[in-house]
Amino acid sequence: MSTATASAPTTPGSPPEEQGVRSWKNPIILSVLSVIALLVFAIGAPANDVTFRLSEQGDAIVLPPIVVSGPLIGWIAALVLLALAVLAVLFTRAGRRIPVWLLALFSVVFLIAFLTWVVGSARTPNVALYGLLAGSVTLAVPLIFGSLSGVLCERSGVVNIAIEGQLLFGAFAAAVAGSLTGNAFVGLLAAAVAGVLVSLVLAVFSIRYVVNQVIVGVVLNVLVSGLTGFLYSAVLTSDSQRWNSPPRLPVIEIPVLADIPVIGPILFEQTIVGYLMYVAVAVIYVALYHSRWGLRTRAVGEHPKAADTLGVNVNRMRFTNVLLAGVVAGVGGSFFTLVAVSGFNRDMTAGQGYIALAALIFGRWNPIGAFFAALLFGFATNLSNVLSLLGTPVPDQFLRMLPYVVTVFAVAGLVGRSRAPGASGIPYIKG
């Protein structure tokens, strides 16, 4: 509470954007969540200690595990959350917007309390934090590629529902090309090409033939699912040794840096796809906001007519961006067959493309935002995997539901109203 009140006056006076219209949505949601925290995390806290392991026995640098008391953390967190909720109510009553730091702090505290509670209630209240985080990043890799693909498309004004199809076709092509050549890097390349192929269809139909972009996307997903499923059963299963046994991409460990506890395995112990992911996020972010190409892309996505007036070829810009997005998503697809498991399986992307789409919106059409949103999904998925191993009282199905419920809360406005690029989804016809 003290930190909250102390820093409250220093926050820059929020712009009187929503003056007159006071939105009680966020304070209500925060209040409900904090009451839940009080009831579940504090009152229903497990009586035992919770252990978070930070490093393995054999690591170069061994950190002692963090051991916390379940009820203590539960009560502290619940009180902090209640205080934040009250603060949010006060902000809203004063007609001011709830500052971002408040929401961020609320989320982090809620997350810590939840983690303590859920691990503490497990049969073995002991979890490897480093593994949890590293696993989250790994699971988030295809999501991040997928949502970057969405960023590229939507920022230039083309809605990309076909992320799922791009990922799936990328995974398929990587498996087949990798098996045929015996070289995982050829598979990676083939995945990029496959992603571009899906993108090409999307671009041709939505830009050239001006078919509704959402329709093309949805249909493309079905098409790719059918095509890969058909080829899988007709070709791949007949001789899986030849067609469907791609080599895995090797994990490249960067010496010394990989030994840093907790963040070492996350940042410096990845396959080339993992490193490419970090590179792609950085490059796309910089290019989008600090280059001529980025400015034009955003212009085309926000106000194509204005961009056209200034001499930007709107549809060509969109076309190349959609193809580029195919490369990104295709590489992301290779994760499924070259990193996660070795070999293709029917519909193996299992809706990750749609989650990537959600991450894109959650991340407000911004590469960095999408990156963190995808990480959150990866974390939630990994958490449910880890917890089902630990044996928690929470039914498995609810844990699996978690990322989706979080998304609903997110898009329903907890993170603030996200605004799509102005012309996203609207075809541009010069004239």
Partner: protein, 470 residues
């Protein structure tokens, strides 16, 4: 009925001159203007919204007017039906090529293709035609059967499979018309099925009343799940595509969880499966016990009539269409757009719930997490193919039902994977959505293009602009 007709933008407001000039140009300009209008809407309504999809495109309304003066042949050549037919043919050809290319016999004969090319062609032909004949025999008439009832059995199977497709497709189509992209039919079917099944195996009521309650419960369940999306969209401006996708996953997990609780799980079973529905709770069979066709199909027909009435003859339907065509204009005209979203999603969910009823009270008679199969996703393509009109959706549902029923037979008898059906279905929708592409491929005249210019002009150019208009 095409959604185009409802758009308030005066498409055909300009005077026509069929003789010369360049109507396509003007069309393009009109479209651009229309586009501007849409864009302006966007600026006003923007707020986490991808623009409401202007429901499936069609060139129909534009062409009918102009073609009415043209000859019958011309009408056929430029009409929509021909494009639809050619789309189906083209998709089937591509599907056939795929079947042929992956056939082991074809692969074997291709090794000596130069020596005896007829072997390869023969093998390819027999692979593709064999699969399609099996598809036909599995979906329409099995002319090898010995009795009449066995002969038409496939047709009744098609109708049975089409029932949930039609119901859910109507839901998706209705939402389209209100400008909402409802990808959540899958979840709505599941929740509807859960409600219906619970009433079906928990309550024990007399014949008639029980089934009625089951149907009602299914509709209510779907409507709640769909309406929740509508409510969230109306209240918070969250985008319905994301919401419905998320609600699909939530529904699946929710049902999986419920099936582990004592209220839903079959006593003595460890699998996630519910008890059988009471015999009073299921749809009676329509044609006797040798066919699986049940009264759910009749309900689907009634639902189609209802949706037609709702959209075209009721005030609510008019409001929904107005909201879908142009939310700002609708708001200006005094229509409560947010209520429109909620109503549209609730009704759409209710229709999907009806599909859930058709599953649990019709074919499956038990609740599992897989009771919705992939009907919810197929329903999207059904609605797209049906161009969001009730009877178009009905027809598309029948077609896809035939594909699905026949696909099972095809997989069993020729070993061709049923996935090929997905390929053909999606290609059909893709091609139908882009009439200019089909016209360009088959060198058909573009609608409204003057006769003299038709041949010399690059087909692509013309078709692109009409495509824009569409």
């Amino acid at each position: 009925m095409s959604p185009q007709e409802d758009r308030p933008v005066p498409d055909n407001a300009e005077p026509k001159d069929d003789g010369g000039g360049s109507p396509t140009r003007r069309q393009a300009r009109a479209t651009a203007r229309q586009d501007e209008v849409r864009q302006e809407n966007e600026v006003e309504t923007a707020g986490g919204e991808i623009p409401p999809p202007a429901a499936p495109v069609s060139a129909a309304s534009r062409t009918t007017d102009e073609a009415s003066e043209a000859s019958l042949l011309e009408r056929v050549m430029t009409g929509n039906a021909l494009v639809a037919f050619l789309s189906v043919v083209l998709s089937l050809i591509i599907g056939g090529l795929l079947i042929a290319l992956t056939d082991p016999e074809v692969a074997r004969t291709s090794s000596y293709f130069l020596g005896r090319p007829q072997d390869l062609l023969g093998a390819a032909w027999s692979a593709a035609s064999g699969a399609y004949i099996a598809l036909f025999q599995g979906s329409i008439i099995n002319f090898e059967a010995d009795s009449f009832s066995r002969m038409i059995y496939p047709l009744t199977q098609t109708l049975t499979v089409a029932t949930p497709l039609i119901c859910a497709g109507l839901g998706v189509a209705l939402a389209f018309r209100a400008g909402l992209f409802n990808i959540g039919a899958q979840g709505q079917i599941l929740i509807g099925a859960t409600f219906a099944a619970w009433v079906g195996f928990t309550l024990h009521l007399p014949v008639g009343l029980h089934l009625l309650l089951v149907i009602l419960a299914g509709v209510v369940g779907g409507a709640l799940w769909g309406g929740l999306v509508g409510l969230l969209k109306a209240r918070t401006g969250a985008h319905e595509v994301i919401l419905t996708i998320m609600f699909n996953y939530i529904a699946t997990n929710l049902v999986l969880y419920l099936l582990t609780t004592p209220g839903f799980q079959r006593p003595g079973s460890t699998n996630p499966i519910s008890p059988q529905l009471d015999s009073t709770a299921v749809y009676p069979l329509l044609l006797g016990s040798q066919f699986r066709l049940h009264w759910g199909f009749v309900v689907a027909v009634v639902a189609t009539v209802f949706v037609w009435w709702l959209l075209n003859r009721s005030t609510v339907g008019f409001e929904l269409r107005a909201v879908g065509a142009n939310p700002s204009a609708a708001r200006t005209a005094g229509i409560n757009v947010n209520r429109g979203y909620m109503v549209a999603m609730a009704v759409a969910g209710g229709l999907a719930g009806l599909a859930g009823v058709a599953q649990v009270a019709g074919t499956e008679r038990v609740l599992t997490s897989g009771v919705a199969a992939s009907f919810g996703f197929d329903a999207i393509t059904v609605a797209l193919l049906g161009r969001s009109s009730p009877w178009g959706t009905f027809a598309a549902g029948l077609l896809f039902g035939a594909f699905r029923a026949g696909g099972v037979t095809m997989q069993a008898s020729t070993g061709t994977s049923i996935d090929i059906v997905l390929v053909v279905q999606s290609l059909i929708v893709l091609f139908i959505a882009a009439p200019p592409l089909i016209r360009a491929l088959f060198r058909l005249p573009a609608p409204g293009a003057p006769r003299s210019q038709r041949r010399g002009r690059s087909t692509n150019r013309t078709s692109a602009s009409t495509g824009a208009a569409a």
